[in-house]
Symmetry: C3
Subunit: 341 residues, 3 copies
């Protein structure tokens, strides 16, 4: 049960409304008018709540749940308790996401521009903007319609931001062109100088960083993440890519569409990720590499070579995951041999 | 000698006062009225200063120290220079900590609420609060007595903070219930959305994050660390846990009492750490795991399985530390064999 | 071509001016008065642009470039296209850096102190300072001439900052003495308490952190990086060292001159790096170690022992790089043997 101090429930909704929202059919026998009042995890849901099972690890919780209804795959539906209506879908997590968005739509902010924000007279602010106190908006900045910019964030000269973007507190944005529906979390740093200099014992010499950061629509960027601007080319984040907290993205990096970059990943300069790449937590990717479409990189791997499209890699340095696991097994058997002799 | 520009020394104190504060006995022959004027590291201490030896690595510095008095374990006391009074204790580091707190108590801030802070009229601020300019405090926030909230920090609607909490500059806190005596360092991000979405090539679908962050009493949270709120369950940090800088704590993570989480650790969603777990620097812990009470994880380890209580693990993927070291030795001997053949 | 919305080109300049600025000779036959209007990457440069080739990986781009002139090493000059003037230098990257600085000098800020900055009456601000709104400057702070301090940054009491320092937005600085020409990026945290406490099941006991952070001239510190102050000794960053984003530097760490610390590196307490050490991305260095002059540490390595001057190390735990590579090869051959039997 979401704490009503922090979350406002737009429900209840009928099973019919939920099935339509989630794009799944109602099971035979279920009443379309059966009302569901909330969403909840399996172990907290009661008979008025909707839940989901996505991870086999939680099968026992599913078998014991008191949820009134639950999104599950066809293969797991038979394990549902009698009192739980199984809503069958290929993607229970997505179905739940859509239904939960219906119950808990994003908070709306009333149009309001604080008179304690510092906004250049040459900036253009779209209709419906919500801008809090302490925000700085530089000369010639363009902010699209219906943006939310929270307290103490700094947007420097000539930056462009598309409509319906939401920018959290205490972020810093410069040298950037940002699309629509982008979400930037608190403390994000976008557009600062890349780490570019010529090494010299007499004193390293800065290379002026002359590119920008281009962020396409529907990108999400987690708290305290840093995205440096390009050195000459731009740094690019493709449409619909999700980036977690504390990620480092170096200058000239190109990230394709729909990628998933988990917390504390570091991507060195001039590396390209094609579309739908998944880099799990704390992965490091060296510079000047290409990671092919749909490649998956296991957590903490250190990538030092190109990865072909569709491959899964793991290790330090990273290798195809089957090779990594063979190596792991080989080592174990060697140690056992050592103990026996 | 601490720089008096930055630190105010409340001393001198007598050996008697120091021994009482640290909970140790005076050695026979030492005068209780002997005055000590400061604390200092072994290699900087003079005859009026108190120091400590906690790490055998610094034994030589101990033998050469000019400190007037020094906390040591019984086993090391005999190596003290003649002019140094050895104050014997089982835990020299703790004894020093207590004595140093007596010499350098935390800075007090006079009660003061800046008229350039942005405080909702519905917020409740306890007596004795110190709130600097540029701070934002949202609707219905509750701040306990004697809290310090430094410049440009943002506390969003309905957050609760216990008494004597200290919150550094430019932090952001939302969807959180925070205990007493909690210290939050500059740039910390608490309560933002977890990294929760259903993966979909047509565009990942956000899962509303409907939990909170619960932080119990006496927790310390280092600079620029991020703690996401729960997806449905809460994210929880147990009493007396210390978290270093740049740590990532995912949604639904439960951390027990008295844990130590060193810098740049990442803990993925829904993992539970029981009490007194130590995770050294840059450790990564995968999601949905349980790390047992008192487990210790060596720096940079990648944890992919549950760790039983009390075990020490290391490696990538992590394993019991003895197994890791055997693996390391086996590899070395194989390489040597290879060279010989 | 740098986007003129974000960058102002001070050119064109003649080949003569460029060669003088970069410290290289003009090739025979090249006209000193030949004008160059911009700098650009190899694959974007046109006949009026200057580029450089520094990484053999981009040899093909060099052979196909349309750049009017290009810095290259002697060995690569013969691969230049006919229409490209090869400017031969031992260090093309440095030559390019110097020329690019001539084309794109750092942005100047007009002297201006915002009346919405919060500046203590006891602070001393040098001539030519540029201080934006929302900045906090505490009692007795000293700021040198011609410093830039961007919006919402907090500088606490008694901090000293040398001339021509540039401090980005939303940074926090306390207990620090900072040299001239230092650049601090947005969100940097300097001078907070180190992670110092005595472990105790009844509640960890804080050790007062009584040192400072000393930052010498010409240091660069990347976005959201954290540098804790010393516990007793100071934390020290030597002259001309460059630190990237999201780096963690623990208390008492000493870093020498001209070091390069890449993104997401973590250096634990009391470790010393001598001069010109390079630590690549995500390296972790344990506490109380010494890393010798000119040592190089490969990305993601975990350093648990001292490294002698000039050595290259890699691995977890780290070892001389040759040993690491032999280990890697040995493992591969063992796996292949396993497959054959």
């Amino acid at each position: 049960m979401a704490d009503p101090k922090f979350f406002t429930n737009a429900g209840p909704f009928s099973l019919q409304q939920i099935a339509e929202c989630a794009g799944c059919a109602l099971p035979s026998g279920a009443s379309p008018d059966h009302m569901i009042s909330d969403v909840a995890p399996l172990d907290q849901a009661d008979s008025a709540a909707l839940s989901f099972l996505d991870n086999v690890k939680y099968k026992v919780q599913f078998q014991e749940t008191e949820a009134g209804a639950c999104f599950v795959t066809k293969g797991m539906a038979d394990f549902a308790p009698k009192a739980t209506i199984a809503l069958i879908t290929d993607n229970p997590h997505k179905a739940y996401a859509l239904a939960a968005q219906m119950f808990y739509p994003p908070i709306e902010r009333l149009t309001q521009i604080s008179d304690q924000a510092h906004i250049s007279s040459s900036a253009k602010i779209g209709k419906g903007a919500y801008i809090e106190a302490g925000v700085h908006i530089g000369d010639h900045v363009q902010i699209g319609q219906n943006c939310i910019i929270e307290a103490n964030t700094v947007i420097r000269e000539n930056v462009q931001i598309g409509e319906y973007a939401r920018i959290g507190s205490s972020a810093t944005i410069s040298h950037a062109i940002i699309g629509a529906y982008v979400r930037i979390y608190p403390g994000v740093r976008i557009g600062q100088d890349g780490f570019g200099f010529a090494i010299d014992p007499a004193g390293h010499v800065k290379v002026p960083q002359l590119g920008r950061v281009i962020i396409e629509d529907h990108v999400e960027i987690g708290a305290n993440t840093c995205i440096d601007r390009g050195a000459g080319p731009d740094t690019l984040i493709g449409q619909g890519t999700w980036i977690d907290n504390l990620v480092q993205i170096g200058h000239n990096v190109k990230i394709g569409k729909g990628c998933v970059i988990v917390a504390q990943v570091g991507i060195a300069g001039s590396t390209a990720l094609e579309d739908y790449v998944v880099a799990a937590g704390q992965v490091g990717i060296a510079g000047h590499l290409t990671i092919g479409t749909g490649a998956k990189i296991a957590a903490q791997s250190g990538v030092t070579r190109d990865i072909p499209a569709g491959e899964e890699h793991m290790g330090y340095p990273s290798m195809p995951i089957k090779q990594f696991l063979r190596q792991h097994v080989t080592l174990k058997s060697l140690i056992n041999k050592g103990k026996n002799t």
